[in-house]
Symmetry: C2
Subunit: 370 residues, 2 copies
């Protein structure tokens, strides 16, 4: 750890914008480069970004525009770095742009491409960061409740399509309700999911068109706070009116998997073990995972992911990641089952890992039939 902290690292935006935001304490512009040496750093930005950033960056970070370094925007980053920083060895992340990496090497820089996170400390959230995610999560819960209220207030017509005052309720309408509610909490969401029936069988289908009674409706809301930059993430699945016995059994399996996984969560637990706990709970109840006619079905994604300055960040809770959970990790727990013939069910909460268990960041009840 000591070595990582003192070796100079070079971070690029937008590829690792969240690392720059974390280290500099301010949102970087679209294009920026940060050279970080120990506690000090040099942030390269264009002339037009300079004045704002020099007033908002954390102590220890110098903001530099190319002209200040005796260079120019046109001469490009290799020239800026050469003229401003007295190092020849730099660590970059695996998503650093290959074009710039080649130019730096041609100029004599010795680059080490790290497969690890450049900011592993981002995984352990401070009390302030936990509060920030909690703020976004509360906004997500408010939006979820508004969406569920809107669906619950409908009645199915003869063909099962949900209507309110004669008007058809669509995925788009509910998504608008969600987004307006989030805005009222200074949050924005880009890809909100309101997916009904066959659409719900695809975990990332956003959903469109009329919502129907007796079908699962997956609602997945992940807002970013305009103020803090931190995200929240929640999913509920509801069914307007009576659900089939099969759907109810599937919902119970996902709910039980969610509860079983949560029971395993605490500092010291392994991420893959937590995933497998949920997977086994659903398998034991008869829900198989694997391709049928070439189409993957069952529990076809990881149980969870870190949430912070990015919606998907470390640590991953998945069968292929063997990592110890630590107090301060913020993760989602989101088991799901997806079958093209039946539909999909997913239940997701965002939690902070604690020494003895976890803290639910915002609570929202789970009811299938509404």
């Amino acid at each position: 750890m000591k070595k990582r902290e003192t070796a100079p690292i070079l971070i690029s935006s937008p590829q690792n914008a969240s690392d720059i935001r974390y280290l500099c304490g301010t949102e970087p512009p679209e294009a920026a480069l940060l050279v970080k040496i120990g506690q000090r750093g040099t942030l390269f930005v264009s002339e037009m970004e300079y004045n704002r950033l020099r007033q908002t960056v954390r102590r220890g970070i110098s903001v530099v525009h190319p002209e200040m370094a005796g260079s120019s925007w046109k001469k490009g980053p290799v020239d800026w770095i050469e003229k401003s920083v007295d190092v020849k060895k730099l660590i970059v992340s695996s998503v650093f742009p290959v074009g710039l990496a080649e130019k730096l090497r041609q100029a004599g820089f010795e680059l080490t491409v790290s497969e690890e996170l450049l900011c592993p400390q981002r995984k352990i959230k401070t009390a302030e960061e936990i509060k920030a995610v909690q703020g976004s999560q509360r906004a997500a819960v408010a939006a979820m409740k508004a969406a569920i209220r809107q669906i619950a207030a409908t009645e199915p017509d003869r063909s099962g399509i949900l209507r309110s005052g004669g008007k058809i309720l669509t995925s788009e309408t509910v998504r608008a309700t969600i987004c307006h509610t989030l805005l009222d909490h200074d949050c924005t969401a880009f890809e909100t999911i309101v997916a009904c029936g066959p659409h719900s069988a695809d975990p990332h289908e956003r959903g469109s068109g009329p919502l129907c009674a007796g079908q699962p409706i997956v609602i997945d809301i992940f807002p970013k706070s305009g103020k803090t930059g931190y995200w929240g993430d929640i999913t509920r699945t509801v069914c307007r009116g009576a659900a089939s016995a099969g759907l109810k059994k599937m919902y119970s399996a996902v709910k039980a998997a969610h509860a079983a996984a949560l029971k395993r969560v605490k500092a010291g637990a392994w991420t893959d073990v937590v995933h497998n706990t949920a997977a086994e709970e659903m398998e034991r109840r008869g829900y198989a995972t694997g391709p049928v006619d070439g189409v993957p079905q069952g529990f076809i994604h990881g149980l969870g992911h870190g949430v912070g300055l990015e919606i998907h960040e470390a640590p991953r809770v998945s069968p292929t990641v063997h990592e110890t959970l630590r107090a301060g990790h913020i993760i989602t727990i989101e088991p799901g089952l997806y079958y093209p013939e039946t539909g999909g069910i997913r239940l997701e909460d965002t939690i902070a890992v604690t020494r003895d268990g976890y803290k639910m960041l915002a609570s929202c009840s789970k009811h299938f039939e509404i």
Copy 2:
């Protein structure tokens, strides 16, 4: 050109997600890789994305998940590509991830890093694409009008702070009005600018706090359509109540620069010439550009940028880019002046270049004092 079209290219998401969307006709997931050989392509996605994408991609694109290729997610992209595609030479973009580039080379792939766009054809918009940007631009204009109406409906209190029914009008309130209006047009904006007084002197300051009379208020709205994925971009600067003679003169200079640049726009015009036309118009009127006490001021950014599946894309209209405008390019024209002591003024429209001139994609009048 012929060679580019037939040489295999390897495109990664999220780094070049818009290229993948363009070539495949569908939004790629967070992590995806596309190998494109002539008119055919192989899109690698995770199991959970497979079923949706195979149903939505353009003809000629095969969607593959690692298990289908006899590989696994854990084995990583080099293994998927080796098992699915019979090529050893690949062209990648300059922002391709360096870590994956190194692994591909170690496995014997011959990578060429292109400094050029992998999809240069994205610059020339089809009629359908122009319509899509126009849709987002119309949403932006509707939001702009709502914002200006809200500001115009206020009265300053004794200290010059704008109030409506006794309540202080803030950047945040106007931003909320803008975002709600955009949502009603199925558009989302993340970084809307409503910057008053000193804030307006920084082109990318989002703005916060009370709005004041007699000060420039820069309003920059750039929404993305949830339906089409295309962006729009517009900026107006307004002043509630009487502006100083100095501010009015500055506004006139920016407006004249905007008009002068537009007069130059047509297929065959050079981007740097169009930029310089605006710059010279403002300089002639006494507005200098350059650092004062180390802080860049004046016209400190390029005149414009392409707009399409990205908010900032090619072609750039800047003094450092010497490129011919072509019919079908969609660009912004956005001269601006920024002085810490006085504030900032920016006026921006999004236009489609035509053979003889340009087409304004959505019209919105320009009045400073409201």
